[in-house]
């Protein structure tokens, strides 16, 4: 039985065989040591070229075959079903197809197995076997043809090295394009859903409305919940929590980076830096319950002691803990840029009789500043995207307030609450999540672009 995995392994084996065949052929063509010198490339390149021509088209055919196979077979099986079943509505038909597939792979089926189903499943299996066999034949033919052609064209004049190099280049380009297209794909899917949302709720209401209560009537006759989709309170909550986080993270992170890179001796640094990095490795959910169970009650008690009105879940608690979470992020990025400032620069200042703090303040920090700013911007986009801590410690209510002791909510938290649980996927309530996601995406994208730009500009200075 030619299963796909066997075929895949066979391709790999054929590729290595092709490599040796190509190499051997090149050596044979060259004949002698002097002949080798006349060959355009070294024998390994002829081997590589043969392997690539043998393997890459075969792998492409193999993967596209795997992608389309089940669709085509299903189509054929459905076409072979009795009219009575084929005329079922689309969703019922889907169930039947599912049953057939389950039957094929031996899973338990929801409906009773009747004769039509059984024969349909057999039909499916039969088609699958044919498909695999023909795939094997096609691939074998292709690889053999490739090897045969290469055997013929390997000659002293064949520029194998250049061809191998350019094939490698194209493989690399293909890989990076995958990453780019994935990003574009995510952006587009979010964008389309967001557009569907904006068809129901106007974009101005979304961007400038002051009330957020995304409760829609589930049934048309339900009363009293029309929903309000003004996202300003949500944005404001995100801004406030991120701002609190940055107020904590930037000074602490930056100053500790300065201490570590300029003042601490090597032994202390060797211990402290990994410790800081452990801080970065703690899962955010742990920070979340630290915020909810330790910091929030602490703030509440202190606040009550001072006669303030503090909610049990507050922006302050979430922001503080988020700031702690981001400290290692800021400090390790700043540490890197501070270390990148050439020692000669410090020597210049010391040589003029500057003190350590003068040198740090007037020479090292200005030189490292663009890099630090870049790092801080990256940290901000991290803060904006953070969800878990806020879900656990800041609450869910979308209050429009400037008081950090009150409950607020953020974009990410709203996305989570909108999409958790059973939802209809075309109600404004769920679509609102995509609109929020789009805004989040754009905001972090802009921040990252600025940050990368700033960091790059800084790099140029020393090159």
């Amino acid at each position: 039985m030619m299963s796909p995995s066997v075929i895949f392994i066979a391709i790999l084996l054929l590729m290595s065989a092709a490599y040796y065949a190509g190499r051997k052929r090149a050596l044979a063509v060259a004949g002698s040591r002097a002949g080798l010198a006349r060959m355009h490339s070294r024998p390994t390149y002829y081997g590589l070229l043969t392997a690539m021509w043998c393997g890459i088209p075969a792998l492409l055919v193999f993967s596209s075959w795997s992608v389309f196979e089940s669709g085509i077979i299903t189509h054929l099986v459905v076409a072979g079903l009795p009219d009575a079943i084929r005329d079922l509505p689309a969703d019922r038909l889907n169930l039947v197809v599912n049953d057939i597939r389950n039957l094929v792979s031996g899973n338990i089926v929801s409906a009773d197995i009747d004769q039509t189903m059984r024969s349909a499943a057999d039909h499916y299996l039969e088609l699958q076997a044919i498909s695999h066999a023909s795939l094997a034949v096609v691939i074998l033919a292709m690889t053999m043809a490739a090897i045969a052609i290469l055997m013929r064209i390997i000659a002293p004049g064949l520029r194998a090295r250049n061809q191998v190099e350019s094939i490698i280049k194209w493989i690399l380009i293909a890989c990076s394009t995958i990453a780019i297209f994935t990003t574009i794909g995510i952006l587009l899917s979010v964008l389309f859903e967001a557009i569907r949302f904006f068809e129901k709720i106007s974009i101005t209401e979304f961007l400038f409305g002051l009330k957020w209560s995304p409760q829609m009537a589930i049934r048309a006759d339900q009363v009293g919940s029309s929903g309000a989709f003004g996202a300003v309170p949500v944005f404001a909550g995100t801004l406030m929590i991120s701002a609190i986080a940055m107020v904590v993270a930037v000074p602490v992170g930056l100053l500790s980076a300065i201490y570590l890179s300029e003042y601490a001796d090597r032994r202390f640094r060797a211990v402290a830096k990994p410790l800081m990095e452990i801080l970065a490795g703690i899962p955010t959910v742990v920070y979340g319950f630290f915020a909810a169970l330790t910091v929030a009650p602490l703030i509440r008690e202190t606040g009550i002691g001072l006669g303030l009105d503090v909610s049990s879940e507050s922006a302050l608690a979430a922001g503080l803990v988020m700031g702690i979470m981001i400290i290692p992020f800021v400090s390790s990025l700043s540490d890197d840029v501070i270390n990148a400032v050439p020692q000669a620069m410090r020597d210049g200042a010391y040589g003029l009789g500057a003190t350590k703090s003068e040198t740090v303040k007037q020479v090292v920090l200005p030189a490292a500043l663009p890099g630090i700013v870049g790092g801080v911007l990256l940290a901000v986009s991290r803060a904006i995207g953070e969800t878990m801590i806020v879900v656990m410690a800041a609450g869910l209510a979308a209050n429009l307030t400037a008081n950090p002791l009150k409950t607020v909510t953020t974009v990410t938290v709203q996305i989570v609450t909108l999409l958790v649980g059973d939802q209809e996927f075309d109600s404004p309530k769920t679509l609102a999540a995509f609109a929020l996601g789009l805004i989040l995406f754009i905001a972090t994208l802009i921040l990252n672009v600025i940050a990368l730009h700033v960091v790059r500009k800084y790099r140029e200075q020393y090159e």
Binding site: A344, M345, Y350, L352, G353, Q362, V363, A367, Q461
Partner: protein, 299 residues
């Protein structure tokens, strides 16, 4: 970097076979040369009325010894040249004199170095005023990523040498003029110092150092990237500074050493091999290694 250094040595070698061709008769005529294996300092390392004194200075980078038992004085109003093959420890020795080696974790200095009779490695010595007094021009130009003006004004600012902006402007201008850079940069004082050419940066760093009026100036190959005209300006500057200050200059150019210095010290693999009057060192070296080096037979 290395290629450049090699090239310089090469040209130096050629030049010196020429200069040496006037004198080898002396060398051959039975003058006693110290053997190649001898590592004791030949000549007179001490002067009366010394500005700085070094006694039995050893410098280690980790386990590796870079300077071995060097004793040397730097006199008042004198220019002392330090020459020697690449890697022999000239920069290392220079950096001991204003404790720049403190900034290198692995570096350890033993022995005694004094400035006007005060031990610069003493317990209660503050390196900040020391370095303002003993200024340094580094081997690699290292302008700050600030404007040209701020580069030169940096030292005077941190030491409060100017009462007001006009005085500061004045210090900046005179320093740049002395370093022969003023005409080239006077219209672009607010542009970054890092944007200057290598030779301009080198002169900027010289201007930056003399702006704080140090009393001893340590110059590590200050003219390595300069054309003959700029080199002449710097050499004039050195002559002028000598009237008031003491200067130690590291150079790979023996013409430069003989033009600007009164005394010359030859280093070899961490040892101070020979010190003496510049004229004597270049005409009648007494140590075989010195002679090999100045006649280009080194290596």
């Amino acid at each position: 970097m290395d290629a450049a250094a090699n090239f310089e040595e090469l040209t130096v070698g050629i030049e010196n076979t020429q200069t040496a061709s006037t004198g080898p008769a002396k060398a051959k005529s039975g003058r006693i040369l110290f053997d190649r294996d001898s590592r004791d300092t030949v000549g007179e390392p001490f002067v009366e009325d010394a500005r700085m004194t070094c006694r039995d200075v050893n410098v280690y980078y980790g386990d590796k010894q870079a300077i071995k038992d060097v004793s040397l004085d730097i006199g008042r109003n004198e220019v002392i040249a330090m020459i020697g093959p690449s890697g022999c420890g000239k920069s290392t020795f220079l950096r001991c004199l204003n404790r720049m080696n403190d900034t290198i974790d692995t570096c350890r200095v033993t022995g005694q170095i004094t400035l006007d009779g005060i031990d610069v490695y003493g317990k209660d010595i503050d390196v900040v005023p020391l370095r303002a007094q003993v200024g340094m021009v580094f081997q690699k130009p290292n302008p700050f990523p600030k404007s040209i003006y701020d580069n030169v004004a940096y030292g005077p600012r941190i030491h409060g040498l100017a009462q007001n902006r006009a005085e500061l402007d004045d210090i900046v201008e005179t320093s740049l003029r002395k370093a022969g850079l003023w005409e080239e940069v006077k219209d672009r004082m607010d542009q970054p110092g890092t944007g200057l050419s290598g030779g301009q940066q080198q002169r900027l760093c010289i201007a930056r150092t003399i702006a704080v009026s140090p009393e001893v100036i340590l110059m590590d190959e200050p003219c390595s990237a300069l054309d003959p005209i700029a080199t002449a300006i710097i050499e004039d500057l050195i002559d002028e500074l000598k009237q008031q200050y003491s200067i130690a200059i590291v150079t790979h150019s023996m013409q430069q050493a003989s033009r600007v210095s009164q005394r010359t010290a030859y280093f070899h693999l961490g040892d101070l091999i020979e010190v003496g009057d510049t004229a004597q060192i270049f005409t009648t070296p007494r140590h075989q290694l010195t002679q090999d080096y100045i006649t280009g037979r080194f290596g």
